[in-house]
Symmetry: C2
Subunit: 389 residues, 2 copies
C-alpha cells in the first residue's frame, strides 16, 4: 500500500532483480538475465553497467562457445562481503561470506565457558582484526549478521531470550555495530538456516518450504511461504520445538508438558547409543551402521513422534518440501521411509503425498550463509543506496 510511486522505484526494482538473480543463481549471461527479468537487452545493458560501476558485479569473458556473438558472464562480486557471527554455548563462529554465497573464511573460536555478549563481541573483534590483511582485498564490508540461538526481535535487534547462552532482553546489534563500526543485524539461528537452505540448499527453487533443525539445545525451524521468510509480527515465528505432541508428557523448560523437543531430542538418542558427546559423525555411525535394538526402538519412537509434528505442519502450511537438519537429518537418514510414509498418509486425503522430505544440504556453513544473507538483503533490495554508503 505504501509503495513509493516514483519512477526511481522502477530502476531500484530492476537493479534489485538483476543483482538478486546473479547472487542466487551464480554467474549468468546478459541474455539469460534478459529472459529471467523480462527486460530488453538495452535496459539490461544499462542495469549491468550501473551494477558494475557500483562494484557489485563484474563481467568475465564467455564460457561456453556457441553460435552467435559470445556473451560475457555477469558475476556477483564475491569481494563484496558480509561478516557472519554465530555465538553458541561452546564457541563463537565467525565467517566472511561473499556476495554469491561463497564462504571465504570460517573461524571457530572455542570458548571454555558459555560466552557472554561482551565476550562474543570481543572474540568477534579479535577474529576480524586477525583477518584485517585478508579483508583489505575486499571491496566493501556490508555489515555483520548474527545468528543467535534464541528468540530474537530482528526489527529491534534485541535478543528476547537465548536460554542456552543466558542472554535475556539485551540489545545485541548495538555492541556489534559499535565494535566493528559497521551495520549489524540479528535473527534467530533457525530462521536464518531456513533462509540459507531455501536459497542455496535443499529447498532451493521451492516457494513453500519448511525447515526443522535439531541440535543439542532443542528443535527450531522456520518457514518460507510464497518465497518469503515467515517472520511473524515480532520475528519469533517458527518455534516448532514447542509444539505440544504429547499432552501430559514430560515437563519442558518452557513450562508446558509434552513439547516436541522433550520427546524428540539428541540426548535420548545419545543415551541409548551409549555415547556421551554430541559428535555428528559418531551419532550418524551409531544410528546407521548396525544399530542395536534399543537404538532402533528409540529411532522408531522419535520418528513416529516427529511424524505427528510434521503432519501437523503439513496440514497448516501445505509445503512443497520439508528440510531436516542437525540430528533430525540423521534421524531421517536412519528411518526416512517411516517418516516419509507417515507424512504422506497421515494428513487428510493425500494432502501430504506431494510433500518431499529432504536432508539439509549446507552443513557447517549453514548459519554463516544465512546470517550473511540477512545482511545481503539490504543491497539486494536497494543496490544503489547500500553500495554508496
Amino acid at each position: 500500500m505504501a509503495e513509493r510511486g516514483g519512477t526511481e522505484d522502477v530502476r531500484r526494482r530492476n537493479l534489485s532483480a538483476v543483482l538478486t538473480a546473479v547472487h542466487r543463481s551464480g554467474p549468468l549471461t546478459r541474455a539469460a538475465l534478459v529472459q529471467r527479468c523480462n527486460l530488453t537487452r538495452s535496459t539490461m545493458g544499462a542495469l549491468v553497467g550501473e551494477l558494475a560501476d557500483l562494484g557489485l558485479v563484474y563481467e568475465t569473458d564467455a564460457g561456453a562457445a556457441r553460435v552467435g556473438r559470445p556473451s560475457p558472464l555477469v558475476h556477483a562480486n564475491e569481494r563484496v562481503v558480509a561478516l557472519a557471527v554465530n555465538p553458541d554455548v561452546d564457541a563463537v563462529t565467525v565467517g566472511v561470506v561473499g556476495l554469491g554465497g561463497k564462504v571465504h573464511r570460517r573461524i571457530r573460536y572455542a570458548t571454555s565457558s558459555v560466552p557472554s555478549l561482551d565476550e562474543a563481541v570481543n572474540i568477534t573483534r579479535a577474529v576480524v582484526e586477525g583477518l584485517a590483511v585478508e579483508l583489505e582485498g575486499t571491496r566493501h564490508i556490508l555489515g555483520v549478521g548474527l545468528a543467535v540461538p534464541g528468540l530474537v526481535n530482528a526489527d529491534k535487534g534485541v535478543v528476547r531470550l537465548a536460554p542456552h547462552l543466558g542472554w535475556k532482553d539485551v540489545d545485541v546489534v548495538g555492541p556489534f555495530r559499535e565494535a566493528l563500526a559497521t551495520p549489524a543485524m540479528a535473527a534467530n539461528d533457525a530462521t536464518l538456516g531456513t533462509l540459507a537452505e531455501s536459497i542455496f540448499g535443499a529447498a532451493a527453487g521451492y516457494q513453500d518450504a519448511l525447515y526443522l533443525n535439531g541440535s543439542a539445545s532443542g528443535i527450531g525451524g522456520g518457514a518460507m511461504v510464497g518465497g518469503r521468510p515467515l517472520s511473524g509480527s515480532s520475528g519469533y515465528a517458527g518455534e516448532f520445538g514447542h509444539m505440544v505432541v504429547q499432552p501430559g508428557g514430560e515437563a519442558c523448560h518452557c513450562g508446558r508438558r509434552g513439547c516436541l523437543e522433550t520427546e524428540v531430542n539428541l540426548e535420548r538418542l545419545l543415551h541409548v547409543a551409549g555415547l556421551d558427546h554430541a559428535d555428528a559423525e559418531q551419532l550418524e555411525d551409531a544410528l546407521l551402521s548396525g544399530p542395536s535394538f534399543p537404538v532402533l526402538r528409540e529411532i522408531r519412537r522419535q520418528a513416529d513422534v516427529l511424524a505427528v509434528a510434521l503432519s501437523n505442519l503439513v496440514n497448516v502450511f501445505n509445503p512443497e518440501v520439508i528440510v531436516l537438519g542437525g540430528f533430525l537429518g540423521a534421524l531421517f537418514a536412519a528411518d526416512g521411509d517411516r517418516l516419509s510414509a507417515a507424512v504422506a498418509t497421515a494428513p487428510i486425503s493425500g494432502l501430504g503425498a506431494e510433500v518431499r522430505l529432504a536432508r539439509a544440504a549446507l552443513g557447517a556453513e549453514l548459519l554463516l550463509v544465512g546470517a550473511a544473507e540477512a545482511v545481503f538483503a539490504g543491497v539486494l533490495a536497494e543496490p544503489r543506496q547500500v553500495a554508496a554508503g
Copy 2:
C-alpha cells in the same frame, strides 16, 4: 523476480494502490489518498480520473466542511459487483457483493438434500436469473467466487475433497463459468473467511493474523502472513482442525486419532446442553446464560484443548491477533478469559502475551464477502485490464 519492468507497470501499481485503498477503507478524499499512497496531488488527479473513466470509482461532493478547498470523496463503485456462492450441506447461498465490500443481496436457497455440483450450478443460475432485473443496474459483473467447505486447489479451480458435500476431484470452476458466462474462481471457505475478516472484520489492519472457524462440519482456518493470505503450494494450507492435540485420542474421519476437531466440536457442546439443532443463538444462550454444571465442564474442557492448539499456532506463526468464528466464537464468549490466559502464558517466555484474541465480526456475510474478495483481487491488481474485459 519475474516482475515486468516497464513503465507501464508503475501506473498499474499506482492504480491498484488507489483502488485497493478505497475498496478496503471506504470513501476517502483525494488528499487522504495522496498521503496513503505516497503520491503527489497531480498524479492522484490522473489516477482517480482514469479509475473514474473505467467506471471503478466515482466522486461525490465533500462530506465534512472544513477549512480549505472542499475535497470530494472518492468511492469504490459498488455497482461493480461479484457474485458469491457458498454451497453447503443444507443450502446454497448466493450473494451479490459490490466493490467496497457491500453485500447487495444475499439469498439462501435451502435444499432438501446435500446438493450435487450440478444442483449447485443450477440453483445459482436460477437465483442469478431471478436477480436479472436487479443486476441490470450494475455496471459490471466481474465474475463468480465459490466458497467451498473442503480442500480446494484454487489455481486449478478443482475441489480435491469436500467430504460433507461428497464432492471429490471435480472441476468446479468450469461448470460455473459456463453456466454464468463469467469468470469463476474457487477456494476453501475458511481461507476466504480469513481474507474477509482480515480486510473488513476483526483482523482488519493486522499484518499477521490467524482465523479459526468452528462449524458443524469441523474446524477450518487460515492465516495472513505479512498481509498476504497463506495459501501453501496447492492452496490447502490452514487445515487447523486436523492438528493432533491428543495422540491416541478418539478416531477422526481423517484416519488419525485425537485431531483438534474430534476434541473440540459443536456436537459435544450441543449434547451436554441438551440441544438437537445447530442454531447459533440457541447455542450461545445455552453457553452464556446460566449454564449447567455439565455444560460448564464441557466448555472448560474444550477451551483447554483449544488453548493448546492456539498456543502451538502462536509458536508457529507469532501472530498479532487470532480471530475465532462459528461456535469457537461462542466458546470464546463463554470462557474468553480462560482461553486468553492460556494463550498468553503457555508459549515460551511471554511470546504469547502480545497476541490478541477476538471474535469474528462479519457473521452471515463472511463467506460471501470472502468469495467476492477472491474475485475482486483481479481488478484490484490490474484495474485497467479487468475493467476493459
